[in-house]
Symmetry: C2
Subunit: 243 residues, 2 copies
């Protein structure tokens, strides 16, 4: 019997838990589990750093572990011929890179850093063992996979059937609400290190056009977006644009 990983009153998003994006520490606390089933000690993992703007994992690379971004932001991105690139998702601090790595060692896309940061790679075999032995871990991971999937579907609908304005509004609202859930709003603003290039690659647009739309947002007092932070000034109006 050792001390639990997090103090019992921590809410999801606590900085003690490396997998806070999954709320796993809390599950473990609820069940009276302790260190043995979470990252720090028993599941083997390796801690690494990454620099801003670098590719962390390359398209078609084979991984023998499941990486979790501890600090910093990253993105999963698909690189096409003649340099076109499409961002599939943003990975905010504390999130698992992609749950599909739990069931397939081959990464079909590349993971690029946005900011500098750190990640830990969990041993796949041990993580899967934990998953089969502890049902709540299984449930958490699979429901995280479902969330990933649902976000992908939303993105498909955005790209297929929404206008530039709607896509950008929804991107901002989506990240906002993820940060909100993880209790990472400070002074009414969130950290938002995405450059307009990222927004363009995520929404299937051009940086030139993204710039124009965002300036329209600014002029309409919908958002403040500068110095790597985002503040939503008029969320109702933004939601309306995102409809």
């Amino acid at each position: 019997m050792t001390a639990p990983l997090c103090p019992p009153d921590q809410k999801p998003g606590c900085s003690h838990c490396i997998m806070r994006g999954l709320g796993l520490c809390n599950v473990l606390i609820d069940m009276g589990w302790e260190r043995p089933y979470t990252g720090e000690t028993t599941i083997q993992q390796k801690k690494s750093n990454f620099a801003a703007r670098r590719t962390i994992f390359h398209q078609n690379e084979t991984l023998d572990g499941v990486p979790v971004i501890c600090d910093g932001w990253a993105t999963s991105i698909m690189k096409l011929s003649n340099g076109r690139r499409q961002i599939l998702s943003f990975i905010v601090p504390g999130e698992l890179v992609t749950c599909r790595l739990l069931f397939d060692r081959k990464l079909h896309l590349s993971i690029d850093a946005i900011t500098r940061g750190t990640y830990r790679t969990f041993d796949l075999a041990q993580l899967r063992a934990a998953m089969t032995m502890v049902p709540p871990i299984f449930d958490k991971l699979l429901s995280a996979y479902n969330d990933e999937r649902n976000r992908a579907d939303q993105l498909i609908a955005d790209l297929g059937r929404r206008t530039a304005t709607g896509r950008i509004a929804r991107l901002m609202l989506d990240i906002w609400s993820r940060m909100e859930k993880a209790d990472m709003i400070e002074d009414g603003a969130i950290e938002f290190p995405l450059r307009q290039t990222h927004i363009a690659d995520a929404t299937g647009l051009t940086t030139v056009y993204v710039s124009k739309v965002i300036n329209a947002f600014r002029n309409g007092s919908l958002v403040e977006y500068s110095e790597r932070s985002l503040k939503i000034l008029n969320i109702d109006k933004l939601r309306q644009l995102a409809a």
Copy 2:
């Protein structure tokens, strides 16, 4: 000991197996398993019919089972405000509607029939029990989930960064190769009941424009597309357009 579900020499795609899309019957044969772990008898399931062009399951409906389309074609589709619709995936005969239902009873999208057909709904609890008790079933289902996910990522890249011609070419090639894998090519052609509306809703285009692109394909002798069947005449050229 009862007879195995499929004759041992069946390849994936055999019509005996209701979950042939997953190749589950073969796994079971390989392992010497028998009926108890596959649909027909032990896992409770209900057989139903659907009419062409009808919505089979509605967006936000809650399901207590996992449906598999046995015959006929369907599509999973997201319906937005002011009538815009985006097709997320096509479900060809023999495929599970969506693996996410294994881990979430709520369906965030709607399932619309293309042709008429039949489906079976498997009892969720029993399917999950089989999954945890029989590792190969677990692996098959999760790798099917990964496939679903990878296709979604491809679609995102298509919609975000490819031209109308490329999107349509890739849609045709994608379905072609799925049918090929399931050994459903006959006389160099596949069943292809998609209307141009479906292609438009899947590629984020307009039926008007889809018609123009497809006629360009026809004029270039790339494909034959009529009477609900598709024949690819010049696959290299089509792949090139899909790059």
